[in-house]
Amino acid sequence: MSSPAIVAKDITVRFRPMVDRNPTLRRSIGRMRHRETQELVALDGVDLTINKGEAFGIIGRNGAGKSTFLRVMARTLKPDEGSVNVYGKTSTLLQLGVGFNVQLSGRRNILLGGLAAGLRKSEIDEKYDSIVEYAGLEYAIDRPVRTYSSGMFSRLAFAVGMALEPNILLLDEVLAVGDESFRNKSMDTMRELLAKAGTIVFVSHALPNVAEFCDRVMWLEAGKVRMIGEASAVVEAYQTAVQEAR
């Protein structure tokens, strides 16, 4: 049962935001004059194994390194130290509508988003009808996506993300997608994924959702693991700490 889906070893990520963010000539000159640049440690030696079939939550304050950790797992950010191994087909929903071009129709964006996520055109063509049906957008599929409401946009993006049929799903605060009925539908899809020994990792500030949905939770604080364990226990400890800090 507990074969690993994601093994992260000693992940450390450092940013130098002053210089790296927007290194214009002026700041480059500033750097030459030895202006101090603060190094920001986003993740500091995070060790973690996530198993197949597990729903894993990541909580913590803003800036604790949650999203950075997801990016490392999605392999879009190479850590300064440590390694991450991911076993399975990964779909990342860190932001919705990646690869979309809002000037173009929903139909065209299913193709673009699917290709960006790693599907082939033939696979997308095959799944096209079910994607549209899942998103419930049959009536608007030939309209430019810029004319969609934000709920419609999210539904389309989520449907495209799920079309990859991932074994591993990385989510960043996108659970609150669409209206009530679509939210239920997306929860059902994710439970199906878990039942098929899939893995879901998600970052959220909606603590009740995390406690209810996840098996285990990691609490990050200032880039370090504060606590990993059974979901409700970690969420409770986190809530207590937040209240005490007030």
Binding site: D20, R21, A74, R75, L77, K78, V98, G99, N101, A117
Partner: protein, 277 residues
């Protein structure tokens, strides 16, 4: 090392549809948002060409150029000469502009998905290539009726020449794409650089214009990689005689060296790109 290259190339090949539809999507979006759409690929170099036509063709009255074709004396109209250089030059210019923006304008893709980043400059190049191929057809539509210059046997050279030019532009766009990630200022410099490059290339003047400007100057201007490339286009489009062998050699050399170095430099930097978003 060798197996890493092979893995990268096969990753890239597996994502070829992504590059193609990304480029087509951008073209389509542009078509949808402007009145003239794809026509701008033709209108742009045409307007550019007519500006220089007004200045040099009319004000400076360049008239015709006395050249040879097939070893015989041949009078080439300045308009044909200008456009046969301006359209290819515009291809390099738009490849550069597209390359500069290819990474920095796709931050959302970079932050979220793992794929060979080379896809992005390739897609930008596909986009500008579509326009260039269109403009090659337009070249004959203009100079055919006006100057009586139609495709001939020499026009077959157009295919290898375009391939070499494409490879050169590819190398160039990967380099500027990579530089623009940590150094966004490049975006501001490109227009000045391309204008200087235009004046340093045989677009509004012919190669013989450099004679008597001093050996050093002539040698410097001939080092310009667009020099042999534009010479080759001249031959392919109008049939005038050039030193075919040496131009081919120089152009191919530039293209191979620049694309090899550019791609290697770009790929080596890929892992760091997400940090600059």
């Amino acid at each position: 090392m060798f197996s890493a290259v092979r893995t990268y190339v096969s990753d890239l090949w597996a994502r070829r549809e992504f590059a193609w539809y990304l480029a087509m999507g951008n073209l389509k979006a542009r078509n949808a948002s402007t009145s003239f759409g794809l026509l701008w690929w033709v209108i742009n170099p045409l307007l550019l060409g007519s500006v220089y036509w007004v200045v040099f063709g009319i004000l400076f009255d360049r008239g015709t150029l006395e050249l040879t074709r097939g070893g015989e004396f041949y009078e080439l109209s300045f308009l044909a000469y200008l456009l046969s250089g301006m359209f290819p030059f515009f291809f390099t210019q738009s490849a550069m502009t597209g390359g500069v923006n290819s990474i920095v304008s796709n931050t959302k893709l970079l932050a979220n998905l793992h794929f060979p980043r080379l896809i992005l400059p390739i897609a930008a190049l596909v986009e500008s290539s579509v326009g260039f191929v269109t403009s090659m057809g337009v070249f004959f539509l203009i100079v055919g009726p006006i100057n009586g210059i139609w495709p001939g046997p020499w026009t077959l050279w157009l295919f290898p020449v375009m391939l070499i030019h494409l490879l050169f532009n590819f190398g160039l766009s990967t380099i500027v794409a990579r530089v623009a990630v940590p150094f966004r200022d490049l975006n501001n410099l490109v227009p000045y650089f391309t204008r200087l490059w235009l004046y340093m290339s045989p677009v509004i003047y012919e190669a013989s214009f450099l004679e008597g400007k001093g050996e050093l100057v002539e040698r410097m201007f001939r080092l310009n990689p667009l020099f042999p490339i534009l010479e080759l286009y001249r031959h392919a489009l109008t049939g005038v005689d050039i030193d075919l062998a040496s131009s081919l050699l120089a152009a191919t050399g530039w293209a191979v060296v620049l694309s090899t170095l550019g791609v290697a430099w770009f790929v080596k930097y890929e892992g760091k790109m997400a940090r600059y978003l």
